[in-house]
């Protein structure tokens, strides 16, 4: 903290990014620099070495946006965790979910959370939603070398845009591409099945509690067909993690509400007694 030369102070003062600060002063702390030695791509994929986080669904509803994630992480054919949480609040008005290499995804999430809070404290104002999406895209891009080794992580960002007064959704690719999604989107191994369900279940101007039902049901359908996605676990009382974001901020949907939604779906489907 002792000032060096004047020019260095000015350039430091101009930076409001926590990730940039880390890159300059503590490069070893960046998730992209944590790897020790690069495995040659020829040696094959490293994907089987670490737990893999699976399905995330996200959808807009009247006055906000919602994100839900199942509770399973897999390592090859093994269930690595039944309790993992893959949806996190970014700040007051945004949430993000991760799919792919779980460890890198959790690191990325932590860095992103600090990045937003750091900006807010230094600048005295919150980052715009587009700003958040761009920062996240840059962080995903930094992980590209690891992604090529098979340790890819792709987030999904949902937030309430306080300027436009609406919920918005952003998906990303490993090269740092940032795509705004309409209505609903899902990522991860079960995303194909979840998206199919969402197409039938999602309607414009859903209210918040119906949106929670839709999210739980689409995850149920994903778990039905994808072995890497966990369904509601009645024995262990495990339900998906769901966050909603509206003009009042991000809120974690309480367990009780999720249990009700999950048991409702199981009940209805049992009564129907059909194949799907």
């Amino acid at each position: 903290m002792i000032p060096e030369d004047a020019a260095a102070i000015v350039s430091r003062a101009a930076s409001t990014s926590f990730a940039e600060h880390l890159g300059r002063d503590h490069p070893e702390l960046l998730p992209s620099n944590r790897s020790t030695g690069i495995i040659a791509p020829a040696a094959g994929s490293a994907a089987g070495l670490a737990p893999h986080a699976t399905t995330i669904v996200s959808l807009t509803f009247s006055g906000g946006v919602l994100m839900a994630g199942d509770r399973r992480a897999t390592m090859g054919n093994i269930i690595a965790s039944r309790h993992i949480e893959k949806v996190f609040p970014g700040d007051l008005f945004s949430v993000l979910g991760i799919a792919g290499s779980a460890g890198i995804g959790l690191d990325l999430t932590r860095l992103f959370q600090v990045e937003l809070e750091h900006y807010e404290k230094i600048e005295g104002t919150r980052m715009s939603l587009d700003g958040k999406a761009n920062r996240l895209a840059a962080m995903v891009r930094q992980n590209l070398p690891m992604a090529l080794q098979g340790l890819a992580v792709v987030p999904l960002l949902a937030g309430f845009d306080t300027e436009r007064r609406e919920g918005r959704l952003f998906s990303f690719d490993v090269t740092g591409g940032r795509y705004e999604e309409q209505e609903h989107h899902s990522i991860g191994s079960g995303s194909v099945f979840a998206r199919g369900a969402l197409k039938k279940l999602w309607k414009p101007n859903l209210d918040e509690s119906t949106a929670v039902q839709v999210a739980v049901e689409s995850l149920y359908d994903a778990a039905d067909d994808d072995s890497a996605t966990g369904g509601p676990d009645v024995v262990r009382q495990l339900w998906p993690v769901i966050y909603t974001v509206n003009s009042a901020g991000a809120r974690r949907v309480p367990e009780r509400e999720l249990e009700e939604a999950a048991l409702g779906i199981i009940g209805r489907r049992s009564v129907a007694g059909r194949e799907a």
């Binding site: 002792i2 000032p3 926590f18 702390l29 007051l92 404290k121 230094i122």
Partner: protein, 241 residues
């Protein structure tokens, strides 16, 4: 070749200290007071955007008087220090004590080594779960650090403000009571013998560190800035003098 005149180290330090004191003495006072609800920070500040009070971390706040550019760079450095530490260790590992000692080292190094000392005085405040766990550190331009209990006043007419505050402050105050006491005593912050000047919400900057931010606001961040309307209602409710 020019001849360097001998200046004794005592004289050199005294000159630097006098210079820094003069700069700080020009500014208005800032009050930091612990109470039942948490820690209240009250400052006279006509600018709504150039803050004297700031958030450092979950339970830690910063208050400063003196030159804006100097204490703002210290505040930003403090935020970086806290965020790096919280990111690389854990959020609980960021403490006011650690931050205050880093500040003390920086201020001390600048005071002795640089061509001009920082003309600032700082308070680092950390709110605890109970009033006994509150920490208030006062840091002066030469790097001295003092662990204060209950209340700290920094800035030009600090002594006058402290004596005005001693009668009205106690540990059991609520936030509105503490803020009213703080504002009332800030009004005595003038040159000796001058009548108190009235302070309206538009020239006040007030922030609080909530003792239980999780239960009151559902957030782990205790720092909250009070907007003018809220401040207005706090000040008028108590029949402010």
């Amino acid at each position: 070749m020019t001849q360097q005149f001998y200046v004794s180290p005592e004289q050199l330090m005294k000159d630097r200290a006098d210079f820094a004191r003069k700069g700080i003495g020009r500014g208005r006072s800032v009050i930091v007071l612990a109470c039942r609800d948490g820690i209240a920070l009250v400052a006279e500040n006509p600018s709504p955007s150039l803050h004297k009070l700031g958030e450092i971390y979950d339970r830690i706040a910063f208050a400063a008087v003196g030159k804006y550019n100097e204490f703002e760079s210290l505040r930003q450095a403090g935020v970086r220090y806290a965020d790096v530490r919280g990111y690389s260790y854990a959020r609980e590992d960021v403490t006011a004590r650690g931050l205050a000692s880093v500040y003390a080292q920086s201020l001390g190094a600048v005071f002795t080594a640089e061509s001009k000392p920082f003309e600032v005085e700082l308070v680092v405040a950390e709110v605890g779960e109970t009033p006994a766990e509150d920490h208030l550190y006062r840091l002066t331009f030469d790097g001295s650090i003092a662990d204060e209990t209950g209340l700290v006043v920094i800035g030009g007419a600090a002594d006058a403000v402290v004596s005005a505050l001693r009668d009205s402050w106690s540990r059991d105050l609520t936030f509105p009571e503490a803020i009213r006491a703080g504002v009332a005593s800030l009004q005595n912050d003038g040159a000796a013998g001058q009548p108190p000047h009235r302070l309206t919400p538009d020239v006040l900057e007030v922030a609080v560190l909530d003792r239980q931010p999780g239960t009151t606001r559902g957030s782990r961040r205790a720092f909250r800035r009070l907007a003018a309307p809220e401040l207005e209602s706090i000040l008028t409710d108590g029949g402010d003098t």
